[in-house]
């Protein structure tokens, strides 16, 4: 449970979210990607109060948020192509455009040769890269990753963070929840720490995170 949290995130920032299990990392992320609603207080995402938006607006905001989970959560009955194409299909984009973007993205994550494969035939790392491709294909304004490196080895974990950095350079705000201290140290981005239902900024950088108040 989260209490008395005031957090204002500047667009285009990149930071890690850390905290012990049960500290509320996932709850905070769910509030941001609108999977949960706050019982008290207001949550503004992309300038809109999530309590006052319609179902249609909620879906539109969700389309601006890319999510990567610890488990890759791919749909096993769909090919790699169709899994990655999902967010563009939600936006009713033309087939030609979808094909072009999906091929481009799959090459970007190094899976150009797996277009017609199905998720169960891929390794954990490959599945996670497919999930990343899916989460960024619509060029989201916010990318949320909840323990994205939890099920992959260190080498792949570094590669995944590199992909997030590339995306961040194009203006996407990236929030990564992780337990991996080494990874956080290696990349050196600011850390938001959740502890006892409170939040604090460990690496002070007002340019990136304009305000954190517990």
């Amino acid at each position: 449970m989260l209490k008395d949290i005031c957090l204002n995130i500047t667009p285009g920032s990149f930071f890690f979210l850390k905290g012990a299990s049960g500290a509320g990392k996932s709850s905070l992320l769910k509030l941001i990607y609108l999977d949960h609603a706050a019982t008290n207080g207001d949550v503004f995402i992309l300038g809109k109060n999530t309590k006052l938006i319609s179902r249609q607006e909620r879906a539109a905001i969700k389309q601006e948020i890319g999510i990567v989970f610890q488990e890759s959560l791919l749909l096993n009955h769909l090919s790699v192509f169709d899994n990655v194409a999902l967010p563009l299909r939600f936006q009713n984009r033309p087939d030609k455009e979808i094909k072009e973007y999906v091929y481009e993205l799959l090459h970007w994550v190094g899976l150009g040769g797996y277009v017609d494969s199905f998720p169960p035939t891929l390794s954990g790392g490959q599945q996670q890269r497919v999930a990343i491709a899916r989460s960024v294909i619509s060029h989201p304004k916010i990318l949320i990753a909840d323990e994205p490196t939890g099920n992959v080895d260190d080498q792949i974990a570094v590669r995944l963070i590199n992909l997030f950095e590339e995306l961040n350079k194009t203006g996407t705000t990236v929030i990564i929840a992780t337990h991996n201290e080494q990874l956080m140290e290696d990349f050196g981005y600011p850390k938001l720490v959740l502890s006892n239902s409170q939040i604090k900024l460990e690496s002070q950088s007002r340019q990136i995170i304009s305000e954190v108040r517990a």
Binding site: R55, I67, H77, F90
Partner: protein
């Protein structure tokens, strides 16, 4: 035109509940098509009756027991000349005795001596106007010549027959409405069970940005396919049924037994039945899934 396979993001092909749905929908479509065929044929039959008996009357002179055959013939001639001179009659036919015998022979049997029977004189009359025969000059002319008889009016008979056929058509209409309602109920059942089966995937899709419209479209694509297959199957089976019916009843001579007939609008209704099934499935799916999604999320 290239065939493009329908793409589903939800694994509908694994739904066991919808396995027999095209067959059930096919049966319902067949019922609907046969109802349309029946309505079309009954309509045609009643229109035929209407045109045949409109302004038609039969004038009957009862057989006078002490009248000789020659006198009957002269009476017929006299009657014929009176009718011909009447301005109210457009056409007439004195029914020959041989024809009358044909009508009564099935009841009296072949051994009856028909020539000895006191057969009435029957004349079919077609009146020009919609006047009742009693208001025409024909009555006066017949009285002048001391010819008495009475008119058989078909109006009462036709009115009860038409009332019966209208009730029949209404009954068929109720069957068709029932077919549409059952189709809707089946679609609701299918979409509900499919929604329960695929709920985790739908939740996930919602989470990554799918709006209600997209989820509804996915279900609509699937139920439309089921309805289309069912509709075409039904059309095919009803065509077979109608062909069999046509050839079986071809040789039955009965004015009460409707022969198959399709006017252009009815033929169009018949061909549009699969489309109606698709529209019902599309609308039912949309309303049902939207309601459930609003309750779920």
């Amino acid at each position: 035109m290239m065939y493009k396979k329908v793409h589903y993001d939800l694994p509908f092909n694994n739904d066991s509940n919808s396995k027999y749905m095209p067959i059930i929908l096919g049966f319902l479509t067949t019922l609907c098509c046969l109802s349309i065929a029946l309505v079309s044929s009954i309509n045609h039959m009643t229109k035929n009756w209407e045109s045949e008996i409109d302004q038609k009357y039969t004038f009957e002179i009862q057989f006078p027991i002490d009248t000789s055959k020659n006198k009957i013939e002269s009476l017929k001639e006299q009657l014929s000349s009176i009718i011909q001179s009447s301005e109210d009659i457009s056409s007439y036919e004195i029914i020959p005795s041989t024809e009358l015998i044909k009508y009564i022979s099935p009841w009296l049997g072949d051994t009856t001596e028909f020539s000895e029977l006191p057969l009435p004189i029957l004349v079919n009359l077609n009146f020009r106007s919609e006047k009742s025969p009693m208001n025409t000059t024909l009555i006066d002319q017949l009285s002048e010549h001391n010819i008495s008889g009475f008119f058989h009016d078909y109006a009462a008979w036709s009115s009860s027959i038409f009332s019966f056929t209208h009730q029949l058509v209404l009954g068929i209409g109720i069957v068709m409405v029932a077919v549409f309602v059952i189709t809707s109920v089946l679609i609701i059942y299918i979409t509900n069970s499919s929604l329960t089966t695929h709920l985790p995937i739908i939740k996930f899709m919602h989470c990554i940005g799918a709006d209600d419209r997209y989820i509804v479209q996915q279900f609509q694509k699937y139920t439309n396919k089921l309805a289309l297959i069912g509709g075409l199957l039904g059309l095919f089976f009803s065509a077979i049924c109608l062909i069999i019916f046509h050839f079986t009843t071809k040789n039955i001579e009965s004015i009460f037994f409707p022969q198959l007939y399709f006017s252009l609008p009815f033929l169009l209704y018949l061909l549009l039945t699969p489309m109606v099934m698709i529209l019902i499935s599309q609308y039912t799916t949309k309303v049902n899934i939207n309601l459930h999604l609003k309750k779920l999320f």
